[in-house]
């Protein structure tokens, strides 16, 4: 990462990726609730784009997530590259038929005669007292359906590069924008910038314990690693960046080295995405681990509203540090 890149928020980086994609390719367009100016998306992701590209290409929709995702699918079947916005990931629940039964399956069901190059952007709550229906990280649902790609950036730079790749990817991509990171700042390469899907990034190198994580929990893991460094524990933080494709080699490379792994995520731990990774590590590195693979995900409860409970619900730096400390 060059340090003289201009500094932007993750939301601005998302905006840049869409802006560049729309400038490059007339087949790229966006649709979703409140995405037109002056609002430009409730999280500002599309700010300025309807003004620049017109309200034909940046289209407000009614509150109808099935229609939003379905319309994106339809346009994509004939080669357009729609970017649909589902305001919050919790609302995927109303659109899962289009996502899982249509977007994910149409390539296969047509024997490859059609494909669905859509991107669905969505905000992921949590940590902001939005309550049980506005705070869920549902990447496990997506991972479990063959045919969907899933990206979860943790930095502005990754957000730009991954979103650009999603837009031009020939398969349906779910792009998760973690709300608590949306307004964090970081360097973002100017102009066209791509990060291939399926390549994890070691955000911090270390020798004793590997933390495998993504999205919201990356800065938490990095903070825990920083604390532990002072205690002489060297932590490697592997940011997966995409869950499908999954960078299996990067995970195994790191854990083979450290022989200890913790998988950390904001999604519910039970039957969550970390179970796949823990199973993979346990299987592939059987007999070579110094400790059982630990998983840290959200507690088995709907997300509570009260701040005091919500902070217990999700993993966070202190508890991550404690878990690592106990196993190192």
């Amino acid at each position: 990462m060059t340090t003289d890149d201009p500094i932007h928020t993750l939301s601005e980086a998302v905006n840049q990726a869409m802006d560049i994609a729309m400038a490059e390719d007339p087949d790229v367009f966006a649709l979703g609730e409140d995405i037109e100016d002056p609002i430009g998306g409730v999280m500002k992701g599309t700010k300025g784009l309807s003004t620049k590209y017109g309200r034909e290409r940046v289209r407000n929709t009614p509150i109808s997530e099935q229609a939003i995702v379905g319309a994106a699918i339809g346009a994509s079947l004939v080669g357009m590259r729609p970017i649909a916005e589902v305001m919050l990931m919790d609302f995927f629940a109303v659109a899962m038929d289009q996502v899982a039964n249509h977007a994910a399956k149409l390539r296969y069901m047509s024997g490859g005669r059609t494909n669905v190059p859509i991107t669905i952007r969505t905000s992921v709550g949590g940590g902001r007292q939005f309550g049980a229906q506005h705070s869920q990280s549902l990447e496990a649902w997506m991972m479990h359906i063959p045919g969907l790609k899933v990206a979860v950036p943790s930095t502005p730079r990754d957000a730009k590069g991954l979103l650009y790749s999603c837009i031009f990817d020939d398969d349906p991509c779910i792009f998760m924008e973690t709300m608590s990171l949306l307004f964090t700042r970081g360097p973002v390469p100017p102009g066209r910038f791509e990060i291939p899907l399926g390549v994890a990034d070691v955000k911090r190198a270390g020798d004793d314990v590997s933390v495998v994580t993504w999205g919201w929990q990356v800065p938490e893991a990095l903070a825990a690693a920083e604390t532990l460094a002072d205690e002489g524990i060297s932590v490697e933080v592997v940011d997966l960046r995409t869950l499908v494709p999954l960078d299996r080699d990067a995970i195994l490379r790191s854990v083979a080295k450290t022989t200890r792994a913790v998988v950390v995520h904001a999604a519910t731990q039970f039957a969550g995405p970390g179970a796949e990774i823990a199973s993979l590590v346990g299987h592939e590195l059987f007999g070579r681990l110094s400790a059982p693979v630990e998983r840290m995900g959200a507690a088995y409860s709907p997300v509570p509203y009260a701040a005091e409970l919500e902070s217990l619900h999700y993993p966070e730096r202190k508890r991550i540090a404690a878990t690592i400390r106990a196993m190192a």
Binding site: F270, S301, Y305
Partner: protein, 341 residues
Amino acid sequence: MTVSTTQPVGSGGSNEGLTDDAALRIFRTVTTIRSTEDRIIRGLSSGELRMTYYTVRGQEVIPAAICEHLRRDDYMVTTYRGMHDCIAKGVPLDELVAEMCGKVTGTSKGKGGPMHLSDPQSGLMVTTGVVGGGLPIAVGLALSSKLRGTDQVTVVNFGDGATSIGATHEACNLAALWEVPVVFVCQNNQYGEHTKFADYTRSPSLAERFRGYGMEARTVDGNSVPAMHEAAAEAIGAARSGSGPVFLECLTYRLGGHSFGATTEYMDPDELSQAEANEPVGRYRRWLVDQRGIGEDVLADIEAAVVSSVEAAVEAAKASPPPAPEELLTDVFSSVEALPR
């Protein structure tokens, strides 16, 4: 001794006129709603309070008039923008405010929050944060009354924007088919989040569209107490008497941004200031004085009582502790033994 807990919630869909008693009950309700909102906004602005808050300013009359015709054992379902509905249905103000603040004395012990208020004791069964999500549930509540042979009515509140989503359509079709006693109250405040009515549908009229399911549907001035009172009497009376569901489109105007802190730049400023000038609580107060000859002093007494009960509710909420850590894993299932470890 808060106002809301003792507030009568009517006596069941009679179409009798708006008596002075009823008129004053409604005044007390709208005043409670307005005062609570004002107090919350003040607390949020100063940093004294902290919550996500969806204004109900401008929509007070709708539930106040509706609840005149509901009994305590009638059911209500509402949305994140539902504090007015909760107050009108009789959810205790202390518990309501405490829940919005995430405190253990709240309706849900602080675990639900402002988008998930519920108080079965007063018939407020569900508050949902998912647009349209409440309508199918309301059909089920109404079905229970039908199956059990009671004459309870279910009222479900939702926004104009919710008319675009699938759940709404499925629920209306099913309710009409089953002729269950539910009143669909569409609080048409002209906006779905930041998008105007005319920008998300070409429907010439919601009432007309929903009549297409084979149920009664009517548009009413939701900011006029007499009009709302009468329309609600009819709709609730019809549902209670077993003639099936009714769709009520209540025209109103959202007097502010979507939620606390949200911009209003997309709203027509003239339209907004005109709506503000004609806002329903003041309009109703003037009507009571001018048309009904109610004394200023009577209204001022009610207002003063309301303000102090609101203040008491806020103070009680602030003094209430947050839920204890053990609460994290209770109420997931009927028994903690079922939890995965």
